[in-house]
């Protein structure tokens, strides 16, 4: 009896897990929702103004360890590929703007860091876990998304970036 209950519970859990995975929305293949945000240097940047270039948008949070690891890797990618037509944009989703700005200044990356204190952009991009990395092609369509970061992931990003830059 107990085994039957356990087996039933396991099957139910698997079914729910599969259903939630299947229901997880994705923006790959859709036009990247446009946004305009203020940057660390006080200038405003609009995503759609980079149409014609390959754009890597990185949503990050100061409190997330993976984000801290990812930023230097993205900085290296930006330095290498910006002349080839790649634009890297970091978007902080922290609510504490002051501390987020301090953190971004301390990281001193070569790409622009924007600050989003609202919730609309997060909803548009289905942000669930930080960091989230999105690649947008030259025509403004989202082609790749990645959630989280582990060492070596930058190689996967590079494969996609090179492919998009060649298009």
């Amino acid at each position: 009896m107990r085994r039957a209950v356990l087996a039933g519970g396991l099957i139910l859990g698997l079914a729910i897990g599969t259903a939630s995975l299947a229901a997880a929305p994705s923006i790959v293949g859709r036009a990247a929702p446009d946004f305009v945000l203020r940057g660390l240097d006080g200038r405003n940047l609009r995503l759609s103004e980079f149409r014609g270039q390959v754009v890597l948008v990185n949503f990050w949070s100061r409190s997330d360890g993976d984000s801290r690891q990812q930023m230097p890797a993205l900085d290296r990618i930006n330095i290498t590929y910006q002349r080839a037509g790649l634009v890297v944009i970091g978007v902080s989703v922290d609510e504490d703007l002051r501390r987020s700005k301090e953190f971004a200044a301390a990281m001193s990356v070569s790409y622009p860091i924007l600050f989003d204190t609202g919730t609309a952009i997060g909803k548009d991009y289905y942000l669930q876990k930080m960091p989230m990395t999105i690649l947008v092609d030259r025509s403004g369509v989202v082609r790749y998304t990645a959630v989280g970061f582990r060492r070596g992931d930058e190689r996967v990003y590079l494969d996609h970036i090179r492919e998009l830059l060649r298009e």
Binding site: V36, L37, R38, R43, N44, L45, R46, E49
Partner: protein, 222 residues
């Protein structure tokens, strides 16, 4: 014609056009393609008939009949028809856009707000916040490119909405860099009467040269 009739007629046109495009893009049947080559081409307009008198000089200068290898005139006209249908689709899209505006923002409730900048020596625009009847309806951040476009004479429609007939208050807050690169925030207010027609308002940023200050105005376009 009322709105319902227009919607129905446009929908019917859309269906007909899409059907026409589908027909236009499919290749013609084999027998239709083969038919013209089997027959002799039709005589040119100016070609003399056996029992008619000699044609005038200008008729002799008419182009010769098409060579047998040239595409038959039916295909040419079909191509022209497809091009015409494509143009119609573009026009239809335009009509649908106008219709959408008419439906969402009918003239009796429509309020449109525009923004323009003149000179801009004493002010670099960063953002505009608009409140109507104490409710925020728009908050717009300007990129350097957008601000530059305004400085070059561009006029931007910053807000389009609906308001009841009657008295209303609009407040606009402008933030940016003022003289000597200082952070600058100013507001402008207008009380206006919304009548039965559409209401057009313009936020104007100009330079007040004698005072070396920017000036913010809201103009009511009657």
């Amino acid at each position: 014609m009322n709105l319902k009739h227009r919607i129905v007629s446009i929908a019917v046109c859309a269906v007909m056009l899409s059907a026409g495009l589908a027909i236009g893009q499919t290749p013609p049947p084999a027998d239709a393609q083969a038919a013209p080559s089997a027959e002799t081409p039709p005589p040119a307009k100016g070609e003399p008939a056996a029992d008619t008198p000699a044609p005038p000089a200008d008729a002799q200068a008419a182009p010769p009949p098409p060579a047998p290898d040239a595409p038959p005139p039916e295909l040419k006209t079909l191509d022209q028809e497809v091009q015409g249908l494509k143009k119609d689709v573009v026009d239809l899209n335009k009509d649908l856009f106008v219709l959408q505006e008419e439906l969402l923002f009918p003239a009796n409730t429509q309020v449109a707000l525009y923004i323009s900048m003149d000179v801009g020596t004493f002010f670099a625009l960063d953002s505009v916040t608009v409140k109507i009847d104490n409710k925020e309806v728009k908050n717009y951040l300007y990129t350097a490119r957008e601000a530059d476009a305004l400085l070059k004479g561009g006029v931007q429609q910053i807000y389009l909405g609906n308001l009841k007939v009657g008295k209303h208050e609009l407040v606009a807050f402008f933030t940016g860099k003022g003289p000597v690169e200082r952070d600058y925030k100013r507001g402008a207010t207008i009380n206006f009467d919304k009548g039965v027609g559409a209401k057009y308002l313009e936020l104007k940023i100009t330079d007040r040269v004698p005072k070396h200050q920017p000036e913010f105005m809201i103009k009511d376009w009657e």
